[in-house]
Amino acid sequence: MIADVSLHDLETDPKRCCARLYESDLARWLLDNQLHPGGERLTLRLARLAGVAPDARVLDVACGSGATALLLARELGCVTVGVDLGARAIEQARRATPAGVRASFLVGDAETLPFPDASFDVALSECSLCTFPDKPQAIAEMARVVRLRGTIAIADVTADPDALPAQLRTAAARVACLGDAHSADAYAALLRDAGCKPLAIEPHPAELRAMADRVEARLRLARMLAPPGEQRERIREATALARLAIDAIARGNLGYALITARV
C-alpha cells in the first residue's frame, strides 16, 4: 500500500513519512483525490463553524497540495496560507493556484510554524492533527500564530483508542490517520490545555465511512490489477486494515469530527 515510503522512514521520522505518503499518486488514487472525509462540503462546514469572514487571514496547517486553501480563498474570499512538510505538495499547490486567488503556500513544520505571533484570524487543520507525533506542540503553535479571540478549527478522525484493534494502532495505521487518533473530548482537552476555549464538536462518522469504503474498494481493484506475489500480499493486508476500520466505524469506535476553539 505504502508505495513511496519505506518502513525505515516510518519508524525514524513519521511526520516526514506521512507528508510524503499523502503526496504519492497511489494515496491520491486510493482516496479518489479527496484527502479528507466529506470533501469540500465538510471543509466549507468547518470554515463556517470557525466563522471565516470574507477577508479573514486563514492558515491551513498540513495543507497538502492546497485544495482546502484554494477552496476557501475562492469560495469565501479570504486570504489563505498553506503550510506543509511535503515540498512536492507545496509545489503542486503553487502550480494549481489560478491567477487572482489569494492563496500562497510554503514548506514548513506544524510544530514550528514559520510565522510571527497573531498572524492569522483562523488556523485550521484537516485530518492531519492525528498524524502529528507531538499534538500539544502543534496546537500550541496554532494558538500562537492566531490572534487573540481568533479561532482554531480542527477536522479529524476521532477514536475510542481502547476499543480499537491492535492492527489499527500500529505505525502503518498512524499514517493512515487512524492509529493515533484521539476521542473528540481528548482533542478538546488538548485545546483547553493550550489555553483555548472549545466552541463546538460536530461528529460526521458517515463521511469517514464513505471514505473508508472507497479506499477498500479501490484496494480490491488494485489487487486485481497487481501481478501475483508480494505486491498483492501487501495490498491484501492493507485491505484487511481498511475492513477493520470500516467495522470500527460501524461500531462507533472510530469517527470524524469538526472541532473549533477560541484562542
Binding site: R45, G100, R214
Partner: protein, 613 residues
C-alpha cells in the same frame, strides 16, 4: 454551508458551476478529445466546466476584488515578516488580478447561468420543492457531482392515473407512503378500492427520484392524443421518452408451456396466434429506424423466436440496419439442441437474452413447467464456444426463486458466456401464479434479497437507479470480477460523475469503458501533468490499458427491472418508458402499456383477422 450567507439562488448556481470547474482544474488543458468527451452527458459536464471557468470564475474574481483593498492591508503585516518568494508570488498575483479586472467584462447575467444546460436541470427540476434560503442551499448542493449526499426533496403522496385490473377502467390514482413502502392506490366505481405495491421502500423511492431526468424526443410521433394515456400509444405526443430498446415479437408459438408467461404463448393451437414474415419484420425495423434515427438496441422475442424458420434472416435484417445491439430473447432449447444455431448467432454478432430462472427443479417446475437446468447449461456452453455473449433473464417470483438470486449471479460471473443478469419481478399479466398485489416483489426486494445472499459482493447502495426510464423501473450496477474478488463500480468512482455508464440505455453496458478510463484518468490521479505512462505507478506498476481491458472484459452487470402490469400501472411512469413493442403497423407501444392496456390482445386479433382474409 457557506450558502446560508448567500441566499440568492443565482449565487448558489455559481457555486455549482465553480464546483464543477474545480475538477477541471485537475485535468490537463486541451484534452477535450479524450474518450469521455464522446459521451453526451459527460459533454454536458464539460460544457459546465468551460462555462464555470469563464463565467463563474470571473464572478468569483469579481467578488474577491471587492475585498482586496481591506485584505491587502491586513495581510501586509505578516507578509513583510515572512519574506522570500512566497510573498512576491502573492503580491505578483494581486497585480494580475488588478489587470484582469481592467480587461474582462462584467460577469455574465444570472439568467444565462440559469440556462446553462449541464449544471442547471436537476436544480431547476427540484426548485419548486424548496424556496428562499433552503431552496438555494439545495441548489447549491451540487446535485450534478455529488448525488449520493444530496438531501431528498421528492414528496409523497403523488397524484397519477391508473386502471382497474378487473375491468380496465381509467382511474385517478395516487402513490402513497405506508409502513415505509410506496403503494399505488385507486378506487374503481365497480370493483372498489384497489391497491398494489409500487416500490418496496419509500426512502429508496425518494432517493431514486433524484436520478430522474428529462427524456429525449423520438423523431416520429405516430399517433395523436385521443382517449388519453395509456390508450393512444404509438408513440403519442404525450410520451416523454424515446425508445432505447425496441422489442419485436416475431411469433406466438413456443416450445414450452410455462405457467408464467406474460405473452400467453404456448405449443398448442392458438386461435389468435401468428408468425410474422421476414418482410413484416423488416418493415417494423424500418419503422423503428424512422422513429429513432439510430436505434440503440432491438430484441427479437415471441413466443419463442428461435423456432421461427426465418429467425436468422430477421436478426440479420436488424444488424443490416446498423443497430448496434441486436438481441435474441430465448428459452435456450434450440441453442441446446441445434449445434449450428449458436455459431450462426455468433457469425451475425447477436447477443442472447436467455431465460434463466434458477437451478432447483422446484423453480423450473413452478415457472416453466419442465426441468430445464441441463438445457440451460448446454445452451450457455454452446454460446461460450461460439463467442456469443449472454445476459441471463430471471423471472423472480415471491416464494418461488427469491432464494436463488445470489446463486444465479455467482453462476453468471463464473460462466464465460455470461456478462450480466437481469432480474425481473414476475409481471402479473397474461399467465401467472396467484399473488398478493401488496406483497409482490419490486426492485427493492430483489436487490435486498441479492445483497443478503451475496453480502461479500453487494450492498444496496451499489445499485443505481437508471435515469432513462422512470427511476423506480430499473436499478443497475456494474461490477469488476477477476475470478476471485468482485468490486461494484459505484464504490470505485463517484457514480454521478459517470452517470452515463448506466444512463440512457435499457441495456446499459456501453459506457463502462469510459467510467473505467475516468477511474484512471489524469484527474483521478490528481496531478496536473499526468500522462498515460505516469499512471502506471498509480496502480502498482501494472501496464494499465491491457490489464484494464482484461478486467473490464470480465465486468458484470446486474439489473433489477420491474415491469408494470394491470395492478401496478402508473401512467406517470409509463410516459417515461423507454422499452417498447414495435407492432406490424409500425406503431411503437411502451412495453408496460402493451401488456396491461389491451394492446397485446388487439394486435393479436388484428393479425389473426388479417391472416384469415
Amino acid at each position: 454551508m457557506v450558502l446560508e450567507s448567500r441566499p440568492d439562488p443565482a449565487r448558489a448556481q455559481l457555486v455549482v458551476l465553480n464546483d464543477v470547474r474545480d475538477r477541471s482544474l485537475e485535468e490537463p488543458e486541451g484534452d477535450a478529445s479524450g474518450p469521455l468527451e464522446a459521451h453526451g452527458l459527460y459533454g454536458r459536464h464539460r460544457q459546465a466546466r468551460r462555462y464555470g471557468r469563464e463565467v463563474g470564475g470571473q464572478g468569483e474574481i469579481g467578488a474577491a476584488l471587492d475585498h482586496l483593498q481591506l485584505a491587502a492591508q491586513r495581510a501586509r503585516g505578516p507578509a513583510e515578516v515572512w519574506g522570500g518568494d512566497d510573498v512576491e508570488h502573492e503580491l505578483g498575483r494581486r497585480g494580475d488580478v488588478q489587470g484582469d479586472r481592467a480587461e474582462r467584462p462584467k460577469p455574465a447575467a444570472d439568467a444565462d447561468v440559469e440556462r446553462e444546460p449541464g449544471a442547471g436541470y436537476e436544480g431547476a427540476a427540484r426548485g419548486e420543492q424548496g424556496s428562499g434560503e433552503r431552496g438555494a442551499q439545495r441548489r447549491g448542493h451540487r446535485f450534478v457531482v455529488h448525488g449520493w449526499n444530496t438531501p431528498c426533496v421528492a414528496a409523497l403522496p403523488v397524484a397519477t392515473r391508473s386502471i382497474c385490473p378487473h375491468c380496465g377502467a381509467d382511474l385517478d390514482a395516487e402513490l402513497i407512503e405506508r409502513d415505509g413502502r410506496v403503494i399505488l392506490r385507486r378506487e374503481c366505481p365497480e370493483h372498489g378500492p384497489i391497491e398494489a405495491l409500487a416500490y418496496g421502500d419509500s426512502g429508496r423511492w425518494r432517493e431514486a427520484q433524484r436520478y430522474d431526468r428529462p427524456g429525449a424526443t423520438p423523431l416520429l410521433r405516430q399517433t395523436a392524443i385521443d382517449r388519453g394515456c395509456p390508450h393512444d400509444c404509438g408513440i403519442c405526443p404525450e410520451h416523454a421518452q424515446h425508445t432505447c430498446l425496441g422489442i419485436i415479437e416475431v411469433n406466438t408459438g413456443c416450445n414450452l408451456d410455462c405457467p408464467v408467461c406474460f405473452a400467453e404463448s404456448g405449443t398448442g393451437h392458438q386461435p389468435d396466434g401468428y408468425s410474422l414474415s421476414l418482410a413484416q419484420v423488416e418493415s417494423m425495423l424500418d419503422a423503428f429506424v424512422a422513429a429513432e434515427g439510430q436505434p440503440e438496441a432491438v430484441q427479437l422475442s415471441g413466443g419463442e423466436p428461435s423456432i421461427h424458420p426465418e429467425i436468422l434472416d430477421m436478426l440479420a435484417a436488424a444488424k443490416a440496419r446498423g443497430i448496434p445491439l441486436v438481441m435474441l430473447n430465448t428459452n435456450g432449447i434450440r441453442l441446446a439442441r441445434d449445434a449450428r444455431f449458436a455459431p450462426a448467432l455468433g457469425a451475425l454478432g447477436i447477443h442472447v437474452y436467455l431465460q434463466f430462472d434458477g437451478f432447483e427443479d422446484a423453480t423450473h417446475l413452478a415457472i416453466r413447467g419442465r426441468r430445464l437446468q441441463a438445457v440451460k447449461q448446454a445452451a450457455l456452453d454452446r454460446c461460450a464456444a461460439a463467442g456469443v455473449g449472454v445476459s441471463l433473464a430471471t423471472a423472480v417470483e415471491r416464494g418461488i426463486n427469491e432464494h436463488e438470486l445470489g446463486a444465479i449471479v455467482r453462476f453468471g460471473v463464473e460462466h464465460p458466456a455470461v456478462n450480466g443478469v437481469f432480474f425481473q419481478p414476475v409481471t402479473h399479466t397474461g399467465r401467472h401464479p396467484a399473488f398478493d398485489p401488496l406483497d409482490r416483489l419490486t426492485n427493492v426486494e430483489v436487490i435486498r434479497g441479492l445483497c443478503a445472499q451475496l453480502p461479500e459482493w453487494f450492498r444496496e447502495d451499489d445499485f443505481v437507479a437508471v435515469p432513462c426510464c422512470s427511476p423506480t423501473c430499473r436499478s443497475a450496477t456494474y461490477a469488476l470480477y477477476d475470478g476471485d474478488d468482485l468490486v461494484p463500480l459505484p464504490r470505485l468512482v463517484d457514480v454521478d460523475r459517470y452517470l452515463g455508464f448506466v444512463t440512457n440505455r435499457a441495456v446499459p453496458d456501453f459506457e463502462v469503458a469510459d467510467a473505467l478510463a475516468g477511474l484512471f484518468s489524469a484527474s483521478a490521479a490528481g496531478g496536473t501533468e499526468r500522462t498515460g505512462d505516469r499512471l502506471e505507478c498509480v496502480a502498482c506498476g501494472v501496464g494499465l490499458p491491457d490489464e484494464l481491458q482484461r478486467i473490464a472484459a470480465r465486468g458484470f452487470m446486474v439489473v433489477a427491472q420491474d415491469f408494470q402490469d394491470e395492478w401496478t400501472l402508473d401512467v406517470a411512469k409509463l410516459r417515461k418508458c423507454c422499452v417498447a413493442e414495435i407492432v406490424p403497423d409500425g406503431r411503437i407501444i411502451p412495453f408496460c402499456a402493451y401488456n396491461s392496456a389491451g394492446y397485446r390482445a388487439q394486435v393479436r386479433a388484428d393479425l389473426a383477422a388479417g391472416a384469415s382474409t
